[in-house]
């Protein structure tokens, strides 16, 4: 095997993880396949830029991340504001029900203790639940959240990119995190029951 073949073989082993990552961001299987393919080709072509095999996976992920950012930028630039408003309205209704009139948790909705995080993260099955919960986020909310958490944009950059106010951005990010934790508590951790 030539060095190039060896690198290609190593890179293709990352393919499932790369695909999963791209699918979570783009929510479009065909597009995710394309982006991953481009990232792998880019990695092969740019192999002279890469030093130190230990970080190979990190390096390929960085290439993929840039491809995803380009793809997102190529899509309609601004976010669908009416979709966002609908998502907000739906959220507000369920969110308000978690609290008593004085703004404190109702006993059934009080967040529980999730135990040792490292222990959870080691469980293979957890990741299927986590992906499902991410995919369950409303589309526009998810888009903002993914930009913030996965692509590591600052809030100000997200606002500029999507044409929304920064106050709105914080509201959307709170909604995303709240939905995600709620989904995990329902489907993985089980409800909490702790006196406040």
């Amino acid at each position: 095997m030539t060095a190039n073949d060896e690198l290609a073989a190593e890179l293709s082993a990352f393919r499932p993880d790369l695909l999963r990552f791209a699918r979570l961001q783009l929510r479009d299987d065909a597009l995710a396949e394309d982006v991953v393919q481009e990232a792998l080709i880019g990695a092969l072509a740019g192999k002279q830029d890469f030093a130190g095999r230990a970080a190979l996976k990190t390096w390929v992920f960085a290439i993929l991340k840039n491809k995803i950012i380009d793809t997102l930028r190529g899509r309609e630039r601004s976010i669908n504001l009416s979709a966002l408003a609908a998502e907000e309205e739906e959220f507000d209704q369920t969110f308000d029900r978690l609290f008593k009139a004085n703004g404190h948790w109702t006993p059934v909705s009080r967040p529980g203790d999730w135990g040792d995080p490292e222990e959870t993260l080691r469980q293979t099955q957890f990741w299927a639940t986590f992906d499902a919960c991410l995919n369950h986020l409303p589309t526009s909310t998810a888009r903002v959240f993914m930009m913030r958490e996965f692509l590591e944009f600052e809030v100000e950059e997200i606002c500029q990119e999507l044409g929304i106010r920064s106050s709105n951005c914080y509201v959307i990010l709170h909604r995303a995190r709240h939905n995600l934790r709620g989904c995990l508590e329902r489907t993985w951790f089980g409800p909490g029951d702790h006196p406040c």
């Binding site: 990552f21 996976k57 990190t58 404190h104 958490e149 990010l173 934790r181 702790h194 006196p195 406040c196």
Partner: protein, 63 residues
């Protein structure tokens, strides 16, 4: 005095920007007295850690 509802917003904001002095103080006071929001706070940190694992699968979780 912060309500739990307001606290959840602040805990999310803390993931995105540095909180002001007043915000930090009222958050701390609330968390001292509220187990539910303390759990919520750990859950916010957990989400970030989980996402970091998705981004850097180098520490191979499936191994």
């Amino acid at each position: 005095m912060l309500s739990c509802k307001q606290t959840t917003r602040l805990l999310s904001a803390a993931q995105d920007r540095p909180l002001g002095f007043g915000e930090r103080l009222s958050l701390k006071l609330h968390l001292l007295m509220c187990k539910g929001c303390t759990n919520y706070s750990h859950q916010m940190d957990f989400l970030r850690t989980a996402i970091r694992h998705v981004k850097n699968p180098q520490e191979d979780r499936r191994a």
